[in-house]
Symmetry: C2
Subunit: 244 residues, 2 copies
Amino acid sequence: MRNLKVMMSYRGTNYHGFQRQDNAVTVQEVVEKHVSSVLNEKVTINGCSRTDTGVHANSYCFSVRTNSLIPTKNFVRGVNGRLPDDISILSCEEATDDFHARFSCKAKEYVYLMHCSESKNPFATDLALHYRRPVNEELIRKAAQEFVGTHDFRAFCSDSTGKHSTVRTIYNFDVESNGVLLKMLVKGDGFLYNMIRIMVGTLIMVNEGRIDVTDIKRIMDSKDRQQAGKTAQAHGLYLNRIFY
Amino acid sequence: MRNLKVMMSYRGTNYHGFQRQDNAVTVQEVVEKHVSSVLNEKVTINGCSRTDTGVHANSYCFSVRTNSLIPTKNFVRGVNGRLPDDISILSCEEATDDFHARFSCKAKEYVYLMHCSESKNPFATDLALHYRRPVNEELIRKAAQEFVGTHDFRAFCSDSTGKHSTVRTIYNFDVESNGVLLKMLVKGDGFLYNMIRIMVGTLIMVNEGRIDVTDIKRIMDSKDRQQAGKTAQAHGLYLNRIFY
């Protein structure tokens, strides 16, 4: 049986996240339907990650096992020809039998986009958080470094019940800005539920002087979700890269 | 009576162009309604240009006369608070009495965006033309220079009936690419109906070897619309800047 590694990109606005649900349209459901049609057999796709409602993916990986002999190039064309405009297959390659999009994953990189301006950007309504207040880029960058390293991120997790461990490693947390678009790039070995959005919400409170840079370590040590900032909105978040 | 100069940006996808029409939603109709509400009097806004259905504006100017004493800053906030997500007021300033967004205009700059890749970009479906064939950027750039200067653009106009003159001056026609996004930047003293989209359509045919660079002068001299390329789709086009 072949095992295919497929990369895709999607705009999350119209989906209730990646993972199949009974009463809501998800990316998995839509992609599985068209992949099954092209492979001419009913398949289940294994996604690299759950994503929340409204979260986007620049580069998302899924694996799928199939008996079909279809060449990978034809697979890409066939699925893209059927998919709606907000999902796009980028590539497809043969993977070894033990490859699994989720379990083989070594690290993930997310990007969070903020449109920082008094006026909204009509081209980015669902694609970046609109933030009207002045931005202290240096301060945000400094605060973001407090998250880098191996820490217990329980305070930065929406639901930690049942988790074996809330310890994760963040490799880097970069902050870039061109004066209007602020880009936060976070790479780590894995992320807890809502962890990036809560870290971003905390950085926004640092920017507004409501949390001090030195408070971040204290919040981390408290392991108390109530101490951290609000969960930043989903539509600024993108799964950006996945490492195997 | 005050005369206000207002800059705005809009995503044209959901509008039948700028100019008011009886049976279709236009940018003018929507903006006028909210501007009138904020000024507390029924006004007509004078736009700098018509734009076609689906065409966007990074920077569009309209002027409006009013008896209202509202400070310009409050005007911007008030209108933005009422406008839908796909239209945004960027600024408002007092203009001299003789200023008119359309008649005072000295030059306009448009940009045409092409997403050049086998796979579509799910974030740019309505925001750039999806072009799947290989792109010869140098060839397109060379061909685009044939349009620069003062010429009779009758062959590059969808409807020249009733036009006093089809002579226009193009100041520059720049072509930039990062390998995936191809950007054509055209500045001129004015443009005929569909003129930029027909020039872009012609450059696409040059790229595909169906029209030769040297043919462009011949097509121009023919003054025959049938000789030029197809009208490129509207959703790649943006009014980018307006010069007074």
